[in-house]
Assembly symmetry: C2
Homo-oligomer: 201 residues x 2
């Protein structure tokens, strides 16, 4: 990819086009939806032609995959730690922090996936993400899978994702700063996922 690009330190105002297109794409997919975003829009926003977008990414689906892939890789990394939820409180806190940090780092990807994960079923990268979240849910509800537990998991996951990107424009004028959101979100999610030991507020 960047092997034949010796101008990494030279004058290169353009961040290699591919990266730029991907970031613009995920921004649009999250805010306007996958179906609601055309390749022409992405091209216009990036200052390229539609043909150029299709040169870097073979199809619209490939662009979605490039946009969501890294987030899924990261999520798969922290997934094994979910086992710690039922062990020590430290391991539990550790996983929740990792998970919240994941949400914060991949705001747009998570938002896209949460909102459109059902309607885009069939696209490989979406199915992959659905499988990961399914595994996450299975781990969380191991042993006690009461309706209450399921609701708590659903509210925690969907609520956190929604609060991060989607709905904060209702509570305020614009997005809240991550350094302020992080502790509040950790406290709230900890409380939801650990009902036996309610965190102090």
């Amino acid at each position: 990819m960047t092997l034949s690009h010796p101008d990494s330190s030279a004058r290169a105002p353009r961040p290699s086009a591919s990266v730029e297109l991907r970031s613009i794409a995920i921004e649009q997919f999250a805010s306007a939806g996958f179906a609601g975003t055309s390749l022409q829009q992405i091209a216009d926003l990036a200052g390229y032609s539609k043909s150029s977008v299709l040169y870097h990414f073979a199809s619209k689906e490939a662009l979605l995959e490039a946009a969501l892939g890294p987030a899924l890789d990261r999520l798969e990394q922290i997934l094994p730690g979910v086992g710690g939820l039922s062990s020590s409180p430290q391991a539990r806190a550790r996983f929740i922090e990792d998970f919240i940090d994941f949400l914060l780092e991949y705001r747009l990807e998570v938002h896209t996936f949460i909102n459109q994960g059902q309607s885009l079923r069939g696209i490989p990268v979406i199915d992959r993400g659905n499988a990961i979240i399914g595994a996450l849910a299975a781990s969380l509800t191991t042993g006690f899978s009461s309706t209450q537990q399921k609701i708590r998991f659903g509210v925690a996951l969907g609520g956190a994702a929604y609060a991060l990107v989607g709905g904060m424009n209702f509570a305020g004028d614009d997005l809240l700063p991550p350094e302020e959101v992080r502790p509040a979100l950790i406290a709230t999610v900890s409380e939801l996922l650990a009902p036996a030991a309610p965190t102090d507020v």
Copy 2:
């Protein structure tokens, strides 16, 4: 509308087409998105022609308005009761129950609105809904509008909406029955919106 329809008790297997189209439309808007749903799809699912859809509803936006309108009317009805949140515990519980029942009754409408309320900005019925939720958020954060409070509100609203329709396919195979979800959801949301007096689980 139905004034000139005396066959209300006669043989009329078709529920007046308008109603049928609206219910199919909201179902599609919620599951596939507004942009991702074509008038042709709706027509096919209903067994009508696209022209017929546009006969009953002047435009795609008008169909969206007809689909979401009743839910917004109902939400506006229960909105004044939000003032009770800061008064007696009974009034608070009453409002939360009303709100959860609203979510249950208008699952699809709420899901549509929560997921696409931002991207569809500009459409009158969407703006109206945004204004209502804004008023709701303002009432809830009156007095103490700390980041923690905003997060709690966001998680409660988005989480409840998500758990109702969107994400339960992760925790189980299909949607949970409302009579089981209701008490669990009431308990969870009560806890989130009233951190000072945590509900027992």
